[in-house]
Amino acid sequence: MKKLSSLCECVLLACAILLPSCRSGPSAQTGRWVAGSPVAEVNLLGVDLIDDKNGWAVGDIGVMNGAVLRTTDSGKTWQAVSKTDEILAAVKFISPTRGWVAGYAGRIQRTDDGGLTWKVQRAEHEGEVLNSVFFLDADRGWAAGGSGLLLLTIDGGASWEVIPTGRAEDFWSVKFVTRDRGLIAGEDGLILATVDGGREWAAQSTGTTRALLGLAAGADFAVAVGEKGTILRSDNSKSWSVIDSGTDETLNAAGLNGAVCWAVGSRGATVGSADGGRTWKPAEATLQRDLMSVSISSPVRGVAVGRRGAVQLLSPE
């Protein structure tokens, strides 16, 4: 009888441990996604949080102009802090005051006052599309875009050097984990890796021709996400494994904090991992609008934005 009781205790204990992980989403420790208030009817294409409270979002322009939006309350409310007449696809801040935006005119701008004013660092290049901008620190940054366009700065954006890549694919995301080690994800299943700060790039074998639209890179691993729920994962940036995402929706973006990763995409698709991208589970859908960008500031805080001003918030349970 005592043995039976012990067995029951073990079963109950196992259930207590396992049940939370059976719920939608990676685990209870990673927070829960909730629908935020839509910002406007305009499509949002990029978002960046620098901590649990402060972040910026950018996107398409309306009939007259568009705006750079700022939040100081984890994405619950957003304020237009400056106007823009350009479609902005990417935003990256390294401090509460300093950040960069890039968009569909090849132009790069920097702010030193939290987004109130912007200085053009790279003039518009008609026909050039920039999809991603990334800075590791105040000096070193990269911007990537259409038809293999890659730019590098080592002086905070004061000057941008075009790095010849010889690629025809559109680049969707560029990320660096150190000054030397970086990755690019793009069309046609492309992943490029560099170990010299972005001057030389080597194409990695991915085994897919589906577009890879989002990239998240940490010290120990990286994930690339894309069309039809594609997720690729690597421990060394060289060999990439296909991971079951649990969705067929197109995944447009990925973000991570420590071992917690999230990817978002079409029709509000949101999938997460709590084990460094090894296993993924869909989260409960909170909205039907396409999500285009995600930023994760801590394991329980993040923001995703998308079409028609869609905002989705990761909050502690």
Binding site: N43, D60, I61, V63, M64, N65, D85, E86, I87, A89, Y104, A105, G106, R107, A123, E124, H125, E126, G127, V129, N131, G146, S147, A168, E169, D170, W172, E187, D188, G189, T209, A211, L213, E227, K228, E249, T250, N252, G265, S266, R267, Q288, D290, M292, R307
Partner: protein
């Protein structure tokens, strides 16, 4: 006498076109946005072709000498309209040089502005393969341009895998999500693209196209799927199949 009238005439024509397109001169992205169905309906010729020659010249158009750029394309496939195998058309203005940042250049959006340039007009280089949605010729049938300026010009890219992709210079933004603006079509006239619906495209599975995947893909789209949808739009509005004239 003509000389003194030319700049004023050109500015007036450009301003009229700009106004018609809802394009404030200072911001080339602030153009009336077209979804794919309204873009197709607005164009009288839709074709795939490769640019073979580019010539900047001046021609007598509407009682004035006007700077124009003559583009010649070897047309490979016609989706809408009747298009000769070798098509030459003119666009207003010469191509704008990229600003050097040196000297006294008047610059807008990274390009040098002059009375001969037309800001925002799509440009092509010899060798470019593009899908063009051209509006009916205007100014006495002498000039044309792609619908929505740069929106109706889609570059074709060959991927290493063999895929052929197309996108315009705003990453195909709004092709399935921009609302009808009534320029040529109203939402009530839509047959294929429905920006307000959850699924913004009608049933195109009979074409062998995954419509849901197409409308949700950012940026470049597969050329063949893209053209099939445009053909479907043309047919849905009672248009006949495009003809390549030998």
């Amino acid at each position: 006498m003509f000389k003194s009238r030319i700049p004023l005439f050109r500015i007036a024509v450009s301003a009229l076109i700009a106004l018609a397109l809802g394009m404030p001169a200072a911001a080339h992205h602030l153009v009336l946005r077209f979804n794919l169905e309204e873009m197709t309906a607005t164009a009288d010729r839709v074709f795939v072709g490769r640019c073979t020659t580019v010539e900047e010249t001046r021609e007598m158009i509407a009682q004035g000498m006007m700077a124009v750029t003559r583009y010649t394309f070897e047309v490979e496939r016609v989706i809408k309209g009747r298009v000769p195998k070798t098509l030459t058309f003119r666009q207003e203005g010469h191509r704008a040089r990229i600003a050097t940042g040196k000297g006294k250049e008047m610059v807008a959006h990274g390009r040098v502005v002059s009375p001969d340039t037309f800001h925002g007009m799509s440009e092509y280089e010899v060798g470019d393969r593009v899908v063009l949605f051209l509006i009916p010729d205007y100014l006495g049938g002498k000039v044309t341009y792609p619908v929505g300026l740069y929106q109706g010009a889609f570059r074709v890219s060959d991927m290493p895998s063999g895929q052929r992709l197309v996108r315009n210079s705003i990453n195909n933004l709004g092709l399935f999500t921009a609302p009808y603006n009534g320029w040529k079509l109203k939402a009530a006239d839509a047959h294929v693209v429905f920006p307000d619906r959850d699924n913004a495209i009608g049933d195109v599975s009979a074409l062998g196209v995954d419509g849901a995947a197409l409308v949700r893909k950012r940026g470049s789209l597969p050329l063949e799927d893209f053209l099939k949808v445009v053909e479907r739009i043309v047919a849905a509005h009672g248009g006949s199949k495009g003809a390549l004239l030998q």
